[in-house]
Every structure is written in C-alpha cells, then in structure tokens.
Symmetry: C2
C-alpha cells in the first residue's frame, strides 16, 4: 500500500509536499522520481501522486483525478469534549480520529479539574497527534483540533451549526438507538464531560440550546472512555462502522 500524506498544495493536476513530510518521503522513505504515493488534498479527496521532482525540502507530484475515500463517514461529527486532566486529551484525540471524527473541540466547564495553560502551544501538538492518527487510520481528510472554548455557554452557542447535538449526560437520557438512523443527519455534534461531569445548570442550558440529552448506560464511564463509546455508537448507528 503506498504511503499517505496530507497536503494543502494540490491543484490543476499538480501537488507538492514540503517540510517534515517532504523530508520523510525523500530522506526516510528514499522516494525516487516516478514513485507513487496517496495524497489527500484540502478538499478531503484522495489522489494518486507520482513523484516528478525532489528538491531540498520539497517533493513535487503529478496527480490523477481525486476520488472520494471510502474511509470517510457520510456525516461530519464534531466532538465537544470536556477538557480532561493530564495527557488524557491526547488519548481522546487519537481514538476519535481513528473512529472518524471531523473536529475535536475541547472546552472548560464548571466542574473541570484542568485549567487553561499554554493552550496555543498544546494545540499545535494536538493537531500533530491528529494528523499522525489520521495517516495511520487511512483517513482522507485531516481532522482538526480547535483551541479550547473557555466556558459552556460558548459550547451551547456553537450548537446552531449542527443538524443534531447529542448531549451525553451521566444523568441518562434517550436511548441513542432511538435517536439516530443512517443517512438522517449531515452534521452531528457530540458533547461529553470532563472528570467532574456537568452541572444541572449546564445540562439545562444544553437542552435549552437544542441538544438531545442521551445516556451511555448504567455503568460509570471515565471521561476518556465516554467520547469513544459515544463516537463508536454514532458511527455504528449512522451506518459508518461497516
């Protein structure tokens, strides 16, 4: 299977890799003129790229017509994740990208134990982790990790952008099997809490902002397990896990 790279420089039958990707392909993989790789463009399509030039820090390609990847779900799922302690967000990002997430938006809320600290620096690392996971999982689009939202009101405000918002509440809610069906929604949001969970006020605010309150069963899931269970469930019920 040819190697897979994401690039923003792709148009009119030509493409290029620069920076660490160019280094990896030219110096680590020792690619030669005429070799083929899979290039994923900013449009989320997959292209077969043939190496046409190798320069210091830059590899150029001719590319075929882009094709829709079978690896991408037919609905875009954004995960709003309560910011967890320690390095747990990295684990959540890795798993979520494998499971097909489009965007991860961490947020701080009332019972969050974590507090904002050097979030711009961390965000770069988070996006590197997402890109690495996307390559390994064979994704065709590059999922994005947003800078964290600083309170739950900002999360609720973002709900307007989605066809359905699933608010996973430890207090329970509608069975997800009854809420989701294949082909129903194009833009789905999942909201899961941090270690401390949600306050009653936050749960009410989510509902008032249009979210559907759903549960993940009677067992207590850790805050790094809940997003994976939620995302798996959404992908399964929308027919994107088969």
């Amino acid at each position: 299977m040819p190697h897979r790279y994401f690039t923003r420089e792709l148009a009119d039958g030509r493409a290029a890799l620069t920076g660490s990707d160019a280094h990896h392909l030219a110096d680590v993989m020792r690619a030669r003129i005429g070799e083929e790789v899979v290039l994923c463009g900013p449009d989320g399509l997959e292209y077969l790229g043939t190496v046409t030039a190798i320069e210091p820090g830059r590899v150029e390609f001719s590319v075929t017509d882009g094709t829709t990847s079978k690896a991408e779900p037919d609905c875009a799922v954004t995960l709003f994740a309560g910011y967890p302690k320690a390095g747990k967000l990295e684990e959540v990002i890795r798993h979520s990208v494998e499971l097909g997430v489009t965007e991860v938006v961490p947020f701080f809320s009332r019972y969050c134990v974590a507090t904002p600290k050097k979030e711009d620096v961390k965000n770069e690392r988070y996006n590197r982790i997402a890109a690495e996971a996307a390559k390994q999982a064979g994704r065709a689009m590059l999922p994005h990790v947003a800078l964290p939202l600083n309170d739950f009101a900002a999360v609720c405000k973002a709900f307007a952008d989605f066809d359905v918002v699933l608010f996973f509440y430890e207090g329970g809610g509608a069975p997800l099997r009854e809420v989701l069906h294949p082909g129903q929604y194009k833009r789905v949001a999942i909201v899961t809490g941090s270690e401390g969970g949600f306050s009653v006020e936050e749960a009410e605010a989510a509902k008032a902002a249009g979210a559907v309150t759903v549960g993940l069963g009677p067992r207590i899931l850790r805050c790094e397990t809940a997003p994976l269970a939620a995302l798996t469930s959404v992908m399964l019920l929308t027919g994107n896990l088969e």
Copy 2:
C-alpha cells in the same frame, strides 16, 4: 453514594472484607460501626452492608437481601484480545471493564509482536486493574482476566461455550447492525487481533469453528481501539448501553 467493595465472603446475611479492602475501609475511609457500604458478592448481586465489627485486617457486616444490579448487562460478553505490545493490554482491560465485559482472555497468535513473559505475575496485576475499574464503573460483578492462551487454536476451541462468536476481521465482514439484536444471546464472544492482525488461516479457522466474521468499518483501528469499538457496538446493539 456509599463505597463499593467486592467480597467472596458473603452468606446467610453476613459478610466480611479482609486484606487491602478491610484496610481501605477501616483505616483510609475511617468507617465506624453502623456505617453502610455496597457489597458485591460472588453471585454478582449487590448487597447493602452495615458494619458490625472492625478488627485488625477484617471488617464484618450484616447484609440485606441481594438485588440484581442495573449496571450489569443482560448478556455476558467475553473479550478474546490478541496480546498487544507494551502496557496496552492494561488500557484495554480498564476500558472493557467500564464498558461491561465479563471476562478478558488475551491470546497469542501468529502475527503477535508480544511474547509470553512472566504471565502469572502480570495476570495478578491485570486482575487488580480489572477490580479497580469495576469499582469505579459501579459494576456489581468482578470481571476476570484469564491467563493468556498460547495459540489461536486454543481460542477457536473455546468458541463452543458461547451462543455467538463475533470475529472482528480487518478484511471486513457482515455489518454488526444486522447480526445483533436485543435479548438474542446470553453468552457473546468478541475476538479482536493484536498489532499484526490475523493470518488468512486464522480467519478461516475462526469461521470453521463457528465464528461470524464482522467488520468495524473502513478506517484502520489500532489494536487497543478495536476492542473498545467492538464492545461498545455489542453493548449498544443488545440494548445494554441505555
């Protein structure tokens, strides 16, 4: 919410904790005579225990009638997990116990990178991790981690004990949504591979031994993500995640 302990010493309206649990309750939680805790017996039922005596290394209780826990799924799911590298099995055990697994059976197979090493010592640690996760998740039964099986033939031989065996194959298979429905099976087995996946021969052997080959979608899941996605899917489709 009262604290939760697992005990094998529970019969005729009386129960006891010993060892580290007795130490935790008596010395860390500073329990007093008359305090209440939740005791989970070897029968998988939940009991309300009232402290009647505190001695060095031993706490005694009177207990009420046992009740069936809402936290337990209505089907017993055994996870046969290809033995992963490094500490990844610990992560799989923790997540699986939260998601409702009954037993985890690691196994070595043709393309396993890990090799057996001090498995009896490791197994004790794995079972401590499972017990800790069971407490945190509010489980009423104590999931068990078996000693690893040394080849895939031993895994296939164990299939006879289950109502359905779901073999999760990277080569794809039947959509899980069409295979599982609520209330259908009492004993379900899930089989997922290690980093190296399964050989074609192993996939054929699983099928010949009665397993249903199923897929987890077009994205490549890491060997520590696949069991969680598989277990979540099984719990969801059998109605045990609501």
